[in-house]
Symmetry: C2
Subunit: 366 residues, 2 copies
């Protein structure tokens, strides 16, 4: 194998392939990137067997071949080299030489035959979606996935395609996030993608209008964009019927300035000494929301002007859940719909009807 390519292009492609490489493995081959030089292309593959990323860049191939290099050290070497042409040559079956200006590295390699096989998926596109929209939909839902492995299905995000619409849904038993987008497809599908996969996908997606093509098989999803293919196993099992959880009716509706409310709840949450589980009480009446919290550290009282439609209500929440969703939302004003102090609260954007958040209240001891 022998090829020449520009440092910054190689560095970027390693960055992408590396996203599927797990640092924590006892199998050295899974810490590696498979590099294949063929047809004046360099194909880099990283895989932890559940998630695989394959990315291609144009290079000058003088001699075809393939090899596996340790992702971390290879990435570090390329990153630290001057921004110039890099020449890489295999010098025997288990090492390569990396040349750039006056730098010369000899790096021990691994056998490509030991690299895990990548599922061969015939690309049968189910739908396409602009990169920046998918990136935003992942951000808007992934925070609500469960971090606990007790119910594995909840660590993923549901992709539900029907009636020319993509619904992405995550829920963890305390809250739910649903984001929707019209797409151009006749297909119907329902699959749950691991949160870890979507986390890596969103780091590789760019804020641009170019499409991502998405293909499903019975147990894999394939994202194809920018000369990069990302293949991930799906989570097995049925997702919760989320529609039945979202209440359709409400007794009172609040319109609040999102950033102001976020600041108030963040301050109120300071009274929780353990940060994550601070309880905040909302007292809603007369176009005002009074937010209070107290602990052995002291007390806090915040007051927010709102528009209230309906009767008054006292309700309490875990502050983290309210903060998370107010941070993720982007509009200036949010709508909150309440039924009672023990029923879930539904939060939506005021202007654009493309997301629904739901938070369970904490029952107050009277």
């Amino acid at each position: 194998m022998k090829f020449t390519c520009k440092k910054n292009i190689l560095q970027e492609s390693i960055y992408i392939a590396q996203k599927a490489v797990t640092g924590k493995t006892t199998m050295p081959i899974l810490g590696g990137i498979l590099i294949k030089a063929v047809n004046n292309q360099l194909i880099l593959t990283g895989s932890d067997t559940d998630l695989s990323i394959i990315t291609k860049i144009p290079v000058d191939v003088e001699e075809e071949g393939e090899i596996v290099v340790d992702a971390k050290i290879f990435g570090e070497i390329i990153r630290k080299l001057p921004n110039d042409l890099i020449e890489i040559t295999t010098i025997d079956n288990n090492s390569i030489e990396i040349l750039c200006q006056k730098s010369r590295f000899t790096l021990v390699c691994m056998n490509p035959d030991d690299f895990p096989p990548i599922s061969n998926i015939s690309e049968n596109i189910i739908f396409s979606i602009p990169q920046k929209i998918l990136k935003n939909m992942i951000k808007s839902t992934i925070f609500a996935t469960s971090q606990e492995e007790t119910r594995p299905i909840l660590t993923g995000v549901l992709f539900e395609v029907k009636n020319s619409k993509l619904n992405m849904v995550a829920l963890d038993g305390y809250r739910l996030a649903l984001k929707s987008q019209n797409i151009n497809t006749e297909n119907t599908i329902s699959a749950v993608i691991p949160g870890k996969t979507l986390n890596e996908v969103s780091k590789i997606l760019e804020d641009k209008d170019e499409n991502v093509n998405i293909t499903f098989t019975s147990n894999h999803i394939l994202f194809n964009f920018n000369n990069t293919k990302i293949i991930s196993r799906l989570l097995e099992g049925d997702f919760i019927r989320y529609n039945s959880i979202i209440p359709e009716e409400y007794n009172l509706k609040v319109i609040a300035k999102r950033e102001k409310m976020l600041e108030c709840v963040e301050r109120a949450s300071l009274m929780g000494s353990d940060g994550n589980t601070s309880l905040v009480k909302l007292d809603i009446k007369d176009n005002s929301m009074v937010i209070t919290s107290n602990s052995q550290l002291g007390m806090v009282r915040e007051e927010l002007n709102i528009i209230l439609q309906g009767q008054s209500l006292e309700i309490a929440f875990n502050s983290k859940y309210i903060i998370d969703l107010l941070k993720i939302m982007e509009e200036e004003e949010v709508i909150m719909e309440f039924s009672s102090s023990v029923s879930p609260c539904v939060v939506k954007n005021k202007e654009i009807d493309n997301c629904t958040y739901l938070v369970l209240p904490v029952r107050l001891l009277k």
Copy 2:
């Protein structure tokens, strides 16, 4: 106690006093800041008993008094409040009320009588030095202090004042850093300041020409600048006679481009799998420095153009020590003086003769 002040001024003063507050203490009072409102001033004091910081800001005092608040939560509350006037009032002996716009906090406090007493130092200034120069001198030496407690004196930096000159010296048994500055004083003094103190002092010092006044007692140092006093215990014991360690003669002298050499050594150090202790070999001859390193991961060879005066030499170093000092130095070119492959290497700036670094080589097995 009752006073009013601007949020950003209060926030800045908490940031300063907090630098002396240790997070890791079993005594809650040491996690606190003493707040004293008197004569239209607010005096904030933080102390871990070894290091104390006292800072003053002008405020509107309506009622004088003092109280101790938990530094972390008080700092967080002030930081999150809107940028407006804040009113703070004691509501009884063990709590204060914090008011800002529509936010109202009640915060539990501690008894000021329990706060550790601060050494009263009569200010008898030994020398004054511009803030930005002291900040730079700390940065240029502190990295060479020992991180091990086996010889406590080496965890500090020697301040040696004599012949109208301040020498700051740190050494850890493998390397030495000496930075000098002419100062206007007739005094002679020699004292060792804890590295931890200097670390906090350098965070508070600003990049400006205003002076820091420095006072010594037999076991304390006082830094006085910007309405802030920093009092620290000195380290006890005699510092190593550093002058006898620095060789005055050499057999060969190298002039090298600092950044180029730094990049070469950083790349060469990548071959050390455990990062910190990678061994790099320097082969110096014919106006060229060849830097090599190898491990079970592979090999690297770097070549650097230099100006060489004297004979050729092969010598090896722990890459971390070379990287640390080339990063700290600021000039374009450095001078390196060598005597033999087992003698310390002396590194200096080419243009300005105000620093001397020394690194011990690693003996190579032949």
